[in-house]
Symmetry: C2
Subunit: 376 residues, 2 copies
DNA sequence: TTGTACGCGTTATCAA
DNA sequence: TTGATAACGCGTACAA
């Protein structure tokens, strides 16, 4: 900058003003811009951050194993949605995966060091140290999912996991399955716990804790393990609610290995409406989750806080999968009915169908992939 | 820091010394550490960066569409490998996806602003502006894949795509297929171009340009499109080399829709040995690519430059898939033979088998998934 | 409209 | 071993 000022024959203050907007004469501005181009000047962000106390960056915190970032298209889609909003506002999104005590330590430094102005936090559990840190720092943040009770005052955005899980379980039960189990993943996260709750609610008296296999993550491999466990406990199982599509895909693999036909012998439903749901054979019925929009809203809530606007700290529930109304951008004037509507896939653009069922929107490849009467 | 110094009754210089290591008396150190805890002091990284001219962060640049980061387990695995090495050295990896002119602009600022000390660059093409920027900045960097000719002096790490593609194509041809096509993705990247070259070399006189469908990305959807195009051009096609496993999975879906059986009617091979390869039915034969290690080596090369060590700028070719030797950590004393060996999957840990075939290591789920004589 | 000068929070140099 | 003090590169209040 010194060089630029010298080349343009002005003071550094004037250079700074043309960079940031201030009263500058046209001649001075022209001279400075020429000098900038000539010298190849780029502002030093560290110095700017130091004085402005801002970084123009927002962290995207994921409290899951690194591998899940690749496995789980749901997290990926949330990330994409957040990134779209952030880059649009000229913020740089910084991915921060916390998977160990060492990660926690390094990222604690990162967050407190002024590297980010705010954060979107995914998969936080109560008592996660990072959650506490964000609160202590007063870092503008938004949770994806229910916040731990501690952190009131931090907004969140999510879906009605309980209602959606209940709805798809009821649908599964409606196909005449008698022994219905669940592969419940990540019950230490609110999403996992809520989906289990919804499953339990749907089954009521018929709920059998023995038919719930708990696994750690929304992971293909965990789906295989969970399904094997269920088969061992109850060979007569004929229906399974998998906590995510990836889990469902793993479960189907385990069933194939066990020689069970899907959906003839065992019906499976998933959750997320991710690409997994279509790439299984047969394609999965699943709950549509507006993952990209969740990410976008979460990022937007961070940006609003950054702009000093007021924000509802109570939380935002996106309507698509759970409120009984179709997603806003596709909503017709009528209340949701059983009429089919075209539905774009999460990220492939392949046509699917969705239907309001109870309080949930369920996405499926055929009228209903599980109906025994329709499968050969 | 001022507060800490005051609370401990020392100068800021002494505080800085206990933070960064220097001669400090035990009593002073104790007093300062107590003060740090009491005040809840965290160093300001922006200020530190300003004076040290370092950020302890390394960028992971991907010059692909955002969605590919989710779709392509290969990029993901490279990222994981890089991140493991970087976090181990207490560097923060920052993900930078460049997918538009606006991204380029924002990330240019980010890179020139001192936000990162170095970069791992994936999928760069010649003449990518970012490539030029990195060279101009003198930013310590490593390319994954061949570097564009321009940027000599920047090291790279890759595999022998030509040789591997040739080997697996020869294997495919060896199963008796007569009309063999290729779905060539990303031919504007070196990996895509090289795989096409290898395919062409393997077929020699039998190479028919009409049987090559070029698609933009290593994408499931592109695989479907490519396969449809091939089927239209040559209904009698009976073998396909897909440029990646995701492309192969898409191609299989298209074949399924067209009523062709795999591998009975059409044999397919892929590339990457990613989870895609196992989750298709039947599972794919594919070229094993040590993606995690590629990422790790690339990150390591950046770190070495940062440490001022000399680095071979010519490039590193990892031996696993292409050099004719088995991967270092699993290599026996003997030269590779046709004997089977157990092989852990890229990230699932499921057992697979690999075999040296010509210059490439090929990973497959059965003796050879394509052998017609072995499939019903 | 412009230049001057101070301060942002650290590290590094030097003399003590 | 410690304490002053000068950078680091920039934004901005203030004076001109």
């Amino acid at each position: 900058m010194h060089d630029v000022a010298a080349a343009a024959g002005v003071s550094r203050g004037t250079v700074s003003r043309v960079l940031n907007g201030g009263y500058v004469s046209a001649t001075a501005r022209a001279a400075i811009e020429a000098a900038i181009a000539q010298v190849g000047y780029v502002p030093n962000t560290a110095a700017r951050n130091l004085v402005t106390q801002r970084s123009q960056a927002v962290g995207f915190l994921v409290l899951e194993p690194h591998s899940l970032l690749l496995e789980d298209p749901n997290i990926g889609a949330i990330m994409l949605g957040a990134n779209a909003v952030l880059s649009d506002a000229d913020y740089q999104m910084v991915n921060l995966v916390i998977d160990s005590a060492r990660d926690t330590e390094r990222i604690t430094k990162y967050l407190s060091g002024g590297f980010v102005d705010g954060a979107v936090i995914v998969s936080a559990r109560a008592h996660d140290p990072i959650t506490q840190l964000v609160a202590d720092l007063g870092l503008p943040a938004t949770f994806v999912g229910h916040p731990p009770d501690l952190e009131q005052g931090i907004p969140f955005v999510g879906i009605d996991n309980v209602g959606s899980a209940r709805a798809i379980t009821e649908r599964l039960a409606g196909t005449g399955r008698r022994r219905i189990g669940m592969i419940a993943a990540a019950v230490d996260r609110d999403s996992g716990a809520d989906r289990l709750t919804g499953f339990r609610q749907a089954l009521g008296d018929r709920f059998d804790p023995d038919l719930v296999a708990e696994v750690a993550f929304y992971h293909y491999a965990d789906g295989m393990d969970g399904m094997r466990a269920l088969l061992q406990r109850e060979p007569g199982i004929d229906g399974v609610f998998a906590a995510s599509d990836a889990v469902a895909a793993g479960a189907m693999q385990a069933l194939r290995e066990a020689g069970r036909a899907v959906p003839a012998d065992v019906g499976i439903v998933g959750f997320d409406d991710s690409p997994w749901a279509q790439r299984t054979a047969p394609a999965l019925s699943t709950v549509h989750q507006p993952a990209k929009e969740i990410g976008a809203r979460a990022a937007d809530l961070v940006l609003r806080q950054l702009a000093g606007k007021s924000v509802e700290t109570a939380g935002v529930f996106l309507p698509t999968p759970s409120s009984g109304a179709p997603p806003p951008d596709r909503a017709g004037p009528d209340p949701p009915s059983l009429a089919r509507r075209p539905w774009p896939d999460v990220d492939q653009g392949l046509p699917r169908r969705s239907r309001a069922y109870g309080r949930a929107w369920i996405s499926f490849p055929r009228p209903f992939a599980l109906d025994r009467r329709r499968s050969p």
